[in-house]
């Protein structure tokens, strides 16, 4: 570096037609680097906007590749609400025979309370069951026309175990109790749903990974073309002393903007899909007794998507730069 300092501007006194120059501030340092970054960031975004049609195509491609797994992720999150209710699902319902008296009901309940694998019991008497049914089903009028209450009393049991085999043997045992008509529990199908969701999550992850790789490749290829288009400029820049980092910077920012723009568009797509789905989903949720709440894209989700897509764009550009930029040397 000694040479570069020696080569600072030298003037001979003979040439006096120029105004005497005070010592200029030496370029360099962090502020210069930041200034260059800022300038290049704005400049590369400008370039993308000035070639709007081509850029929009790339952005759309990236957006679709990101929106697809993002949407699946959101759907899974919603479905997992059922899976997370698995605690409730281990509840076992004992439907008593219709001629069971209140006293017999209490006897059974007391016996169950001392059972080693049962943590709590709750009795829903025939009249309580009727009230609940009238309130929720909308068939109240039909029932009031009947002389007898057709609904059985129910004892809801919460086992103190979630191990499926133990719950199953409990269920078998409960079925043999006198005055018990039938035993019902929902664990099996929920367990299945849970596993299916698990599988779907894995598939979404795999699909997401593949599409992310695709995004990096799309950006990489687009940046490769940009590098080709600016070959002359790169040669000149290298000849007048541009470092590899300086030459690479605009392309890395181009990749970043492709990624961020694509991520932004993907977010908009998913938000639109959300809007379209909202009506039907809330109707469906109504049928599920209001327990189901539509999980929407959160602000932190959006932030993560933008960060990730920006990174993917940058990474794709970096791969391209690594491969193609070094090959362009002045000859």
């Amino acid at each position: 570096m000694a040479a570069s300092r020696n080569a600072a501007p030298r003037k001979k006194p003979a040439k006096a037609d120029k105004p005497k120059r005070q010592k200029h501030t030496k370029p360099g340092g962090l502020s210069m680097l930041l200034r260059n970054h800022q300038q290049v960031a704005v400049d590369s975004l400008d370039r993308l906007f000035s070639a709007a049609a081509a850029s929009a195509l790339t952005w759309a491609m990236i957006a679709i590749a990101i929106a697809l797994p993002l949407f699946l992720f959101l759907v899974l999150q919603n479905l997992q609400q059922f899976g997370s209710n698995i605690d409730e699902a281990t509840q076992v319902s004992l439907y008593m025979e219709l001629d069971t008296s209140e006293a017999e009901l209490l006897t059974v309940q007391n016996a169950l309370n001392s059972h080693p694998t049962i943590s709590s019991t709750e009795v829903i008497s025939q009249s309580q069951a009727l009230e609940e049914f009238q309130a929720l089903s909308g068939f109240g009028d039909v029932l009031s026309g009947l002389n007898e209450n057709p609904l059985p009393a129910v004892i809801v049991i919460t086992p103190n175990t979630e191990i499926l085999d133990q719950v199953r043997s409990l269920v078998e045992e409960l079925a043999t109790i006198d005055k018990v008509d039938s035993v019902q529990y929902d664990l099996d199908w929920l367990q299945r749903l849970y596993e299916i969701l698990n599988l779907a999550q894995r598939l979404t992850l795999m699909l997401g990974g593949l599409l992310a790789f695709g995004v990096a490749l799309v950006v990489g290829n687009t940046v490769r073309l940009a590098i080709e288009n600016r070959r002359d400029e790169i040669v000149v820049v290298k000849l007048v002393g541009g470092t590899n980092a300086y030459v690479a910077r605009p392309f890395l920012y181009t990749g970043l903007w492709y990624g961020v723009g694509g991520g932004l568009l993907a977010t908009v797509l998913v938000l639109l899909a959300q809007l379209v789905m909202q009506g039907p989903v809330s109707q469906l949720a109504g049928l599920y007794n209001g327990e189901f709440v539509l999980i929407k894209l959160s602000l932190s989700n959006i932030f993560n998507v933008l960060f990730l897509s920006g990174f993917l764009g940058w990474f794709g550009a970096w791969l391209s730069v690594l491969r193609h930029l070094k090959a362009i040397e002045p000859r």
């Binding site: 003979a14 120029k18 501030t25 040669v235 000149v236 000849l239 002393g241």
Partner: protein
């Protein structure tokens, strides 16, 4: 400023572009590099710019041994050399001003200082009024002047030119040479590769002549009048 010590350059395939070249160009010197096409003029300039590496021997620029120049140092080294091309190598996607500002941008000057220097350089080559034009709209002579402004804007200690008047008529060529002499008068070392012998003969400067990769004239310091 430039010192070649028994330098040879062989290209892959065995063609020897330069063989055993030794010469020394002092600081502040003005010299022409001449010879028929294919004699090795461009190769010699490329060795100075480190666009090529010498096969054997040593090249010094500004007392720096270029064999010891790392890839990392190369861009910083090049910032001290102004290079003028025959085809001027201007970028047509930006204005004259932005073309000349490029080396300053790379070196990290702030825009005010850069603007001042660019205008000074454009003023020097007489194109201050055309700073906002696209270089494609300029004549060949003007384009070459923009190329020269870009080469000197960073105030390099050494100015290299590869056939700078190759595409210009004698009148314009003489003007361009005058410009180089002006820079030389303020202390810039100048080395110009040219085969325009009639033009060179009019100017009283040292001449280095290459023939088939050998330096047949000018290796020791003499001016043209000595021959």
């Amino acid at each position: 400023m430039i010192k070649f010590d028994a330098v040879s350059k062989r290209y892959p395939g065995g063609h020897e572009a330069l063989s055993n070249i030794s010469f020394h160009l002092e600081e502040g010197a003005f010299a022409f590099l001449t010879g028929h096409s294919g004699a090795g003029k461009s190769t010699l300039l490329k060795l100075i710019m480190q666009m090529e590496k010498a096969s054997s021997g040593q090249v010094f620029v500004n007392n720096q041994n270029l064999n010891r120049l790392s890839k990392r140092q190369l861009p910083y080294f090049r910032r001290n050399i102004g290079l003028v091309f025959q085809d001027h190598q201007l970028l047509f996607d930006r204005s004259v001003f932005e073309n000349v500002a490029l080396p300053l941008q790379i070196a990290g000057y702030d825009s005010r200082e850069a603007g001042r220097r660019v205008r000074a350089a454009l003023d020097k080559v007489g194109l201050l009024k055309k700073e906002n034009q696209n270089p494609i709209a300029l004549s060949g002579g003007e384009q070459q002047r923009v190329g020269i402004a870009r080469a000197v804007v960073n105030k390099p200690a050494l100015l290299l030119a590869d056939e700078p008047t190759g595409n210009l008529d004698p009148q314009l060529s003489a003007e361009i040479m005058e410009l180089f002499e002006e820079f030389n008068r303020v202390g810039v070392s100048v080395l110009i590769a040219s085969h325009d012998l009639s033009l060179i003969a009019k100017l009283q400067h040292r001449i280095l002549t290459l023939e088939h990769g050998r330096m047949i004239q000018g290796a020791t310091k003499k001016t043209v009048s000595d021959y």
